[in-house]
């Protein structure tokens, strides 16, 4: 399974973030963040609380209330920031939420089919009927090792923390995004749930797909081995390296990281 695009002959740039500045409620959170992600790569974004990790995920997925004041985000050659959230999803961007939302009264399968077909429609592809869709979903359930009982319930309603996170990964498996952003998907999970989530992510790794894993802890990276690790502090990437950087952080914490990094 281990695939490293940096060993391949040609790198295809998927996401290029340049000098990104963003404000939330009038407060500047991202202060000149730059990052390039190529197809097939897994990038881990680590950093202390308040560094801007979740803001990055929210800005990339188009959440309201996040104001970009400078910089650009180019995704597959297009200006990502100009797109509505639903158009970003149709273009292949997926955000696994740190706190997945409970939606009473909306059946999980119905929701997922509506999303799946809306994305296909957005791309000018044919929609699947409920039988075709159910077949697809059953295959994905097997891969993700999720019980089909989850399908019959309302979206995330009454789900445990672990079930919610697994449901995010399951949605990702069905929607097959090109760029998956995992916002602290590991937080609040016990070791078994973490392994299941990691297994789900690993099953989806492919040369065409890139991952941005936002995490506070190194723990997840034991199970989903990243190609690159970046340290985000005070709204900027202050240090980048390979997976050994995560281990160094685990040992020494965030203190002293990024000193001498380019401004």
């Amino acid at each position: 399974m281990a695939f490293h695009s940096n060993e391949s002959l040609k790198l295809i740039t998927m996401l290029k973030i340049e000098n990104l500045h963003a404000r939330v409620e009038g407060r500047e959170i991202l202060k000149g963040l730059s990052l390039t992600v190529n197809a097939g790569e897994v990038h881990a974004i680590m950093g202390p609380n308040g560094a801007g990790k979740s803001t990055l995920g929210n800005v990339l997925s188009g959440r309201e209330g996040y104001e970009v004041t400078a910089g650009t985000v180019t995704y597959n050659g297009i200006d990502l920031l100009a797109l509505e959230p639903e158009a970003r999803a149709a273009a292949g961007v997926f955000l696994a939420f740190q706190y997945p939302v409970e939606i009473p009264g909306v059946n999980n399968t119905y929701f997922l089919r509506a999303a799946f077909n809306a994305q296909r429609k957005g791309r000018g592809e044919k929609e699947l009927d409920s039988m075709q869709f159910l077949k697809l979903v059953r295959e994905k359930l097997k891969v993700m090792q999720i019980s089909d009982e989850l399908l019959h319930r309302a979206v995330n309603e009454g789900f445990s923390g672990g079930e919610k996170k697994r449901n995010e990964i399951f949605q990702m498996a069905v929607l097959e995004p090109q760029l998956a952003i995992l916002d602290e998907t590991d937080s609040g999970l016990d070791i078994d749930a973490l392994k299941q989530v990691a297994q789900g992510v690993n099953a989806l790794r492919s040369p065409e797909r890139a991952f941005l894993m936002i995490t506070h802890y190194q723990r997840l990276l034991d199970y989903v081995v990243p190609d690159f690790v970046h340290v985000l502090a005070d709204g900027r990437i202050v240090e980048s390296g390979d997976k050994s950087l995560a281990l160094k952080l685990e040992e020494h914490g965030y203190v002293g990281i990024g000193e001498g990094a380019p401004a």
């Binding site: 509505e84 999803a89 997926f94 939302v101 939606i103 009264g105 909306v106 509506a114 999303a115 809306a118």
Partner: protein
């Protein structure tokens, strides 16, 4: 309102000839109610029950009385049928019974079903109590004019211990006519001891019109009787519709009422229930969804008057554009109704900044060991949920519709007829803004 010159509405309604019956007590009751309407006029917004529903505009309009051509009007057949409902059917066009559109053959033993116009030609004595009622307050203006003028409607009786196997369907069609009409219908419904019935009441439109219709239903449930009453109001967008449903529940009787208010320009529904026998139980569920410039007002009034009576009410309102929704839920637990349990919830969604919903839950308790809960909220769609759906690729308008439908569907969940439930759910979604 009644001090100054007579209002065009009052004048035009009084213009109507009373339907002659030749039954002395009935003619007297009609005359008295007519006089009460003439002298009392219309309630203004100082009357608590009409606080949020001003009749000023309606009061300036005139309506032709009744429809002399109701028997022959061609009406759309489509809204007369409902998926999942296939039983006896009574159809009234502009308030007049239409045998040709109804289905009353092969009625089950123990079920009596006939139009009021026909019932009054036979032995009218069993109707005496319901039809000789006097309405005491100005707030009852429409009930008064209805009592004076209604010549048709439904008379339904279920004999003791009779379980009516199929739902009975009652359809009121507002059909377009040469001018705006006023028509009045009256239902008298009684379920005998341990009898069981499902009644589906529909208000539908055939063509555009701006009629004024009033409907008064008296529903009596004897000991142990069970009624499921489903009301689907989808009247013409220009129609005014004022309804009153009064239920009386004797011991162990159980009434379940589902209401869907979708159509009409000015709609008012007074849903009143008296739980007069020990252990009586009432469940009400409803959705009102005004849009455009619609005004939909529901006044729910429940009186617990006996031991260990239970009521649960769950209502949802969704207002869009410049529409207005009104909900008042007044529950009284009277002295002696010890051990009663009353709950009332009314949650509302405003989909537009110009829409308005006024909600007022009221609870008065005069008994002991009572369990009671009530609450009302008015809010907007949850932004977090909306973003969650959009982030998965569902376009904004579709996401809003999905969340709104889910919000409303909660009150349809305990509708046992799945085909009908799906149909009502589809109607709800069709009614949502796109």
């Amino acid at each position: 309102m009644n001090q100054s010159a007579p209002l065009p509405l009052v004048e035009s309604l009084l213009d109507a000839q009373l339907p002659g019956s030749g039954i002395a007590w009935l003619d007297a009751a009609r005359r008295e109610n007519r006089e009460a309407f003439a002298s009392g006029g219309l309630p203004d917004t100082r009357v608590e029950a009409w606080k949020y529903t001003a009749l000023r505009a309606l009061a300036q309009r005139s309506f032709a009385s009744g429809d002399s051509q109701a028997q022959t009007r061609v009406v759309d057949a489509a809204p007369l049928t409902l998926p999942g409902i296939d039983g006896p059917r009574l159809v009234f066009v502009n308030g007049v019974f239409r045998a040709d559109l109804s289905a009353l053959d092969s009625l089950q033993d123990g079920l009596t079903l006939e139009p009021l116009s026909l019932a009054l030609r036979g032995d009218a004595e069993p109707l005496r109590f319901a039809l000789s009622r006097h309405y005491r307050e100005t707030g009852d203006a429409f009930a008064r004019i209805n009592a004076a003028s209604a010549g048709d409607g439904l008379v339904l009786r279920v004999a003791a211990k009779t379980i009516v196997a199929v739902p009975v369907q009652l359809v009121f069609v507002g059909a377009s006519a040469e001018s705006a009409l006023a028509w009045h219908a009256r239902n008298v419904i009684e379920l005998g001891e341990d009898a069981e019935l499902t009644l589906v009441e529909q208000h539908v439109a055939s063509g555009e019109q701006a009629h004024l219709a009033t409907l008064v239903s008296d529903i009596e449930l004897r000991e142990g009787a069970r009624l499921h009453h489903i009301i689907l109001q989808n009247a013409a967008i220009g129609a005014s519709l004022v309804r009153r449903s009064s239920l009386r529940l004797h011991g162990r009787a159980h009434a379940k009422v589902h209401v869907l208010e979708l159509g009409g320009a000015l709609v008012r529904h007074d849903l009143r229930a008296e739980l007069v026998g020990d252990g009586a139980q009432l469940d009400t569920r409803g959705v009102f969804m005004p849009h455009g410039r619609q005004h939909i007002d529901t006044q729910l009034a429940i009186r617990h008057q006996a031991l260990n009576t239970t009521s649960s009410s769950n209502w949802r309102g969704v207002a869009n554009d410049r529409a207005r929704g009104v909900f008042r839920g007044a529950i009284v637990v009277a002295p002696g109704a010890d051990g009663s349990d009353a709950s009332l919830s009314n949650k509302n969604l405003l989909l537009s900044p110009s829409a308005e919903i006024d909600t007022k839950p009221e609870l008065e308790i005069y008994a002991d060991e009572v369990k009671a809960a009530h609450g009302a909220t008015v809010g907007q769609l949850d932004e977090r949920s909306l973003f969650y759906l959009r982030s998965r690729g569902i376009p904004q308008a579709e996401a809003r519709a999905l969340l709104t439908a889910a919000f409303c569907r909660a009150v349809l969940d305990d509708l046992p007829n799945e085909t009908l439930r799906e149909h009502l759910s589809t109607l709800l979604i069709a009614h949502l803004p796109t």
